[in-house]
Amino acid sequence: MPKKVLIIDDSSSVRRQLSTALGKAGFVVLEAADGMEGAEQIRAETDLALVICDVNMPRMSGLDLLERLQPELAQRQLPVVMLTTEGQPEAMTRAKKWGAKGWIVKPFKEQLLLGAVQKLTQSA
């Protein structure tokens, strides 16, 4: 059964770019346009295998989403990978503290991303 990945990013271009790459690799892809919408989808979709989440977004940032949903994400063992334009160690440390499993700086390399997604969804 194909694994389900949720993409949270306020850029429709980035969502489409990720969706195309993951779709070709056999994943079912869901999309959310900001952290608030993403949090709702995480709660509603109980069979997600992975979340790829932007950091700077309107309404709720990716780091805020991580912090708020940390207990639920941990309990479900749902891996979250942050995808952002920034590589600030402070932000990366916060993401790690709140349970993120990875950090990707845009523009992403498709093969690298797919490799990480495959690895993180193996146990899902």
Binding site: S11, S13, R16, T20, T85, E86, G87, G102
Partner: protein
């Protein structure tokens, strides 16, 4: 002995020279990552038609301002095709979103480079500009480039806190670079 005003002006000039170089590097690297090598061109008058313009505001303790990208249609279309492997219409919402994403990635690059000067700031959501901001451009740092089939400009309208000096400092924490993937 130089006057305080002359010293302040010299300091201001050095700060802006550093930002100007960083802006140049960020622009070249951004487009290079989408397969669009660019060469610097003379800064001449910009046309307001047939272009896409997107900007991002930022603010921090030491700096605040706006960074922007002005691109001819071919730049938007070629970079989109490189990233997504398909074509779009310049007037489409997708092209506007992509222009904003490029501006977003430009400010991300600048923020990453400014870390070595211990400068940080918060970044707002990128915005697509319907009208070319000529007035903003006149007071901004601007770098213009030509590339295959078109041209683009990066501009940086920035206010620096009085007395602040850009001094490179050794950073002890590793910084993820564009294209990097770090698994925790």
């Amino acid at each position: 002995m130089s006057s305080p005003t002359a010293s302040a002006n010299a300091l201001r000039g050095e700060n802006f020279a550093i930002l100007d170089e960083l802006l140049r590097d960020c622009c070249i690297e951004l487009m290079g990552d989408y397969g669009l090598p660019a060469q610097q061109a003379d800064v001449g008058p910009e046309t307001a038609t047939g272009v896409a313009v997107a900007a991002v505001d930022f603010s921090g303790r030491d700096v605040r301002g706006t960074i922007g990208l002005r691109m001819t249609s071919s730049v938007v279309l070629q970079t989109y095709r490189a990233a997504l492997g398909r074509a779009i219409e310049l007037d489409s919402p997708e092209a506007k979103d992509w222009s904003c994403e490029l501006a977003n990635q430009l400010i991300g690059r600048l923020k990453n480079k400014l870390r070595s000067y211990e400068v940080s700031f918060n970044v707002n959501a990128p915005r697509w500009l319907q009208i070319f901001p000529v007035a903003e451009l006149e007071r901004a740092l601007r770098r213009r480039f030509i590339c295959d089939g078109g041209n683009f400009s990066g501009y940086l309208d920035v206010l620096i806190a009085p007395g602040f000096v850009f001094v490179p400092r050794a950073s002890d924490a590793p910084l993820a670079q564009e294209g990097d993937l770090v698994l925790f």
